[in-house]
Symmetry: C2
């Protein structure tokens, strides 16, 4: 491991700085000393047995500590969190310290066996699991109550004594990664394994999905091109295109499941046992006994939560949906006005004016989405969910419902109420392109520019300090602590999800959408990479075995797309022409085709195995081995224990 | 435990007879002695450490052995199979012999702790797991090859040396059970827990499901009555009925999942870890190495199996479906002829003739279903699936597809092609009632009568034998070994599934179907009980946590029912009357309602948790405890091992 040291450190405090803890300026010395002792204490005394030291700054009232751990401590921590590593025989197994020599990357001294991201994850796990024993409150703060088993770090953060805990970047590795990832201009895949190595599974999976999704859109884009240029408006060709799209979207989602299981098997997270989920930091309630763990913890009645959800959240979401529809109607008024203006003037300027309402509406949609998301977070937090996963599910559901209505309702209205396919095409294009440009700007370029400006200031400030510690480390920590915090992949997946909606919902009307989506994703890859490497603090790595609830969201969108595309086809003038004499036959035919396509989707999803054969064999092998070990254990017991008894029965 | 003893037994061979092994008449003595030795041998020598003795019969050339085990051997076996038992504190935990005093039903000597069915399951498990070591073939039969790890019992059965292995009935317990179950005429629930105690989880679940399904049909039947008597033919009322039915069928399936998890938690099978699945007895191939277990076993290429499935089985099923449709067309010809005859004659006799085609068709359907099932079994067996579960899935799929088409195609044809609702109602009624009567007769009453006749013969024959062993036991074994073998719950679930189809697919046309279904189920309960207790050999108890693939089948039927009912409603003359001016509006409305109902079904299924809160808490608690135990283990390791290393780092 590379060791970044403060020059003046005594040799016993030499360790690689991994995680930074920043206290509030008002944090009392008593509290800080207590925490430092807790962190250094032996595991058996209730400590976390890690290494910690303050960052010495002469002229500033900031309390910053850096945390690390001895190599052996981290390796034992890897066993505790259940990290999975590759063995010499090529199989993946949970790391066990005593069997360390069986693992592939093990070297004599164990350095470099764990990646820096893994070490930081282990330290985060250990800090989060530092629990109060007999303390009644945080020393120095009588109002910050503690009870046995309460996570100390969570209490410190919720009571505002600690500002943040974040992992440090590894400047050298980051430089190499950036070079491979986006600095060279090249046509090649992203270095997914290196991204995972540096940022962890969640981000590795996101970038892999982004890349995969882009590749998967290319066939759709290519097939769409001739439709656009030759204006193939005949029935057969559209049916072929729509059918291809619907089957294709099912197949790519199924194939993704297979690919992602190959990746997460290689990374170990597919096998990693999930940890028991603790209450989320913001959860509050009256102290009681948890029926599952038997531990003291805040209890909040599920009935009250249901009341909050059904009496406040659901009505709130409905009101927001109504507002979104209201805004949509204003947009149609504007559109109407612009059309009237153009018909009156017939100038080049007035023909440009035609696009203005759509552009304004696209901007308004973006703004509404962002405001709504903040409201949804507040509301979901107020619902007081006990588990982070349940909080996330409720948040995702709220945000998805609103985003779908907000982004697609105008298109649905144009398609199925106004039945104006020309306007649909135009609106779709404007919405798609405007939202893409806005997103890239707001998400990556703007923060990148702000970040650059502030980092120049900090560099100057750090230079003016007169300190004797390691200059590079000091500058790095000061730069990184003021960076924005990356709040997870939610927004990134949401963007892809909406894009998938634009592409699939109306694909038979606007085949060109896939091309824009591909172009967007190509730039998205670069701007997201820039964002992760230059704009945000390094996030803690998180093990994850799949993309979770987003898979469900994409699959649901695929089903809705079948319904919309079939209806659009049925409404097209070409198809109506075929069934000129009987509307009833037309609609029955369309309904039959729709049901057949839906059935085909389900059968495809059912028939394609979620995991490739070789991964399945490896998982089965792992399970078999653990069952065999259990059986051997019992056989040994049987041989040794029951002998006397059975001998008696048979020989007496 | 009750001990049934042979009078002349030496005291060291006193044990309760649990399982009977019957050899073929040609079985060589060498082979039988080798097997007896294997069964008695110590576990460490590759035996199964059980007790076995021959049943001595003087004048007959039959080789029958009875198998049992010492109390301690069976308890250790319970630990090996992972049996789950209730602890004193009310929680369910896998049985561990060393902690035996923690379990609720534990008495001083451990008698009665395991039920007879559990003991028989343990013995079956141990016998099935008796594996060849260095034997190259079965002694005495050079052509019956063995290889290390091959199950000896499976080879003995496939090569015809052993005829059968079956568990004995417990006459006293069976008498009590029969009395509680069906001998008293009463209006009460079935003694499900006693059924599970005697027959095991699979049958316990089946009878519980049968009862639950009957109860769940009662509201549908009650609501259907006024529709029938008052001939409520107006739109609103039908829509209400159909909507109620569709929502109801979703709710009852979801509630069943909850109820079944409560039951299987109580029985322990919800928690029981599934065992590693061995190849099924009939599986054959070239000897190779299994990639999962690393053991020698027959290997059969998956590609060849796929070829057999797609090139033979799929075409075969298609031909059968075609034949079924052909028979259906003959039925319509007959129907046509009967109608013409009636119109010509106009007599009472000719009006009875009207029902004849339907009745003949119902009988033909039953016959075709039974023949097809035999063919499907042969074909699926020929496909050479490695695992029993995969064999079962392919068999279920084949049989379901054919049964659905065979039973319902004529109804679909009448409803959607002929659009004759009166004929639909009449056909539905005739099919439903005829198939019910046929089923009860063929499944229970006929075998019961045959069984009674043959048992009289056997009793006479046994009386004529001049033997000195326990007379009762000898008679019991001779009676039971000639009884039919119960082949599992497949046919019973299939019958319920088809019934569910008759009730739900056309519910808005024939509300009375639910009443017939309820009546059928009430008699079905009694005839199935009779069948299990009197007609068939006792089946080996099988742990199972739910009704498996049938849940999926019922849910699929529920989805198809939404489509058929919506279409039927849309086609009814009342509804058409409302949308007189626009067929297009009519069909769009129906399609919208259909999609809304489907969405409602999915949301309901998603919102209703599959397990009740308290069961979920108990499962979580179990998981939490095992994670905590693991963690404690690691902490101990950390405290003892890493001290030296960390002390070095901190103090040096």
């Amino acid at each position: 491991m590379r060791r970044l040291l403060s020059k003046s450190d005594p040799p016993d405090l030499e360790f690689q700085p991994l995680v930074v803890i920043e206290f509030a300026k008002h944090a009392k010395e008593e509290t800080r000393e207590w925490l430092v002792k807790k962190i250094m204490d032996k595991k058996k005394d209730g400590g976390s047995q890690l290494l910690i030291k303050p960052l010495v700054i002469s002229n500033d009232e900031e309390f910053i500590y850096i945390v690390g751990g001895s190599a052996k401590r981290l390796l034992l921590g890897a066993e505790a969190v259940g990290l999975v590593k590759e063995c010499i025989d090529g199989s993946m197994k949970p790391f066990i310290y005593n069997n360390r020599k069986e693992y592939k990357d093990w070297t004599e001294d164990g350095d470099d066996f764990l990646s820096m991201a893994e070490c930081q994850y282990i330290i985060k796990y250990e800090l989060d699991n530092l629990r109060a024993q007999d303390e009644k409150n945080i020393p120095g703060y009588p109002n910050s109550k503690l009870y046995p088993g309460k996570s100390i770090f969570r209490r410190l953060q919720t009571s505002g004594i600690m500002i943040q805990v974040f992992p440090l970047h590894d400047k050298e590795e980051l430089k190499r990664l950036r070079h491979q990832w986006y600095l060279r201009i090249k046509l090649a895949f992203q270095p997914i394994d290196q991204i995972q190595h540096y940022f962890g599974d969640t981000l590795g999976l996101y970038f892999a999905f982004l890349e995969y999704f882009t590749m998967a859109l290319i066939p759709m884009a290519l097939i769409g091109i001739p439709y656009y240029f030759f204006a193939w408006e005949d029935y057969d060709k559209y049916v072929i295109f729509a059918t291809f799209n619907l089957v294709w979207s099912t197949v790519i989602l199924e194939v993704w499941k297979r690919l992602s299981s190959v990746m997460t098997y290689r990374w170990g997270s597919l096998i990693m046992k999930r940890q028991f989920e603790e209450p989320r930091p913001g959860f509050h309630g009256v102290l009681g006994i948890n029926p599952v763990t038997g531990r003291k913890e805040p209890i909040y009645s599920s009935f009250k939560r249901q009341l909050r959800i059904y009496l406040v959240s659901v009505p709130f979401v409905c009101v927001c949906l109504y507002l979104a529809s209201y805004v949509m109607m204003i947009y149609f008024d504007l559109e109407h006005w612009a059309l009237a203006y153009h018909q009156e003037q017939q100038s080049t300027f007035s023909s440009l004016i035609l696009y203005v309402p759509s552009i304004i509406y696209a901007v308004v949609i973006e703004i509404m989405n962002r405001i709504y998301k903040i409201a949804a977070e507040l509301l979901t937090s107020w619902e007081n969910h006990r588990l982070e996963s349940s909080y996330q599910n409720h948040l995702v559901l709220k945000v998805l419902v609103f985003n779908i209505v907000n982004c697609f309702s105008s298109l649905f209205y144009i398609a199925f109420v106004m039945c104006d396919m020309k306007l649909l095409r135009q609106s779709l294009a404007t919405l798609l392109i405007t939202s893409q440009i806005l997103n890239q700007f707001v998400e990556a370029l703007l923060p990148y520019w702000l970040q650059k400006r502030s980092s120049r200031k900090i560099k100057k400030k750090v230079k003016s300090l007169n300190v004797d510690t390691d200059y590079t480390l000091l500058e790095q920590i000061h730069l990184e602590k003021d960076m924005d915090t990356y709040l997870g992949t939610f927004d990134d997946y949401l963007e892809l999800f909406l894009l998938f909606g634009y592409v699939s919902l109306f694909s038979c009307v606007y085949p060109l959408a896939a091309i824009f989506a591909v172009l967007n994703n190509l730039t998205e890859m670069y701007s997201d990479a820039l964002k992760m490497c230059r704009v945000y603090k390094r996030p803690f790595s998180q093990p994850s075995a799949n993309i979770g609830v987003w898979m469900l969201a994409f699959e649901t969108m695929g089903i809705i797309a079948v319904v919309t595309n079939c209806t659009l086809l049925g409404m097209s003038s070409q198809v109506s022409g075929i069934f000129e004499d009987s509307k009833r036959d037309l609609i029955l035919t369309v309904a039959a085709i729709e049901h057949a396509l839906l059935a085909l989707k389900f059968i495809l999803a059912f028939v394609i195995p979620d995991k490739p054969y070789d991964i399945q064999v490896k998982l089965d092998r792992l399970e078999f081995e653990s069952l065999e070990a259990l059986k051997k254990n019992q056989q040994m017991k049987l041989s040794s224990e029951s002998l006397t008894d059975d001998d008696d029965a048979m020989n007496s």
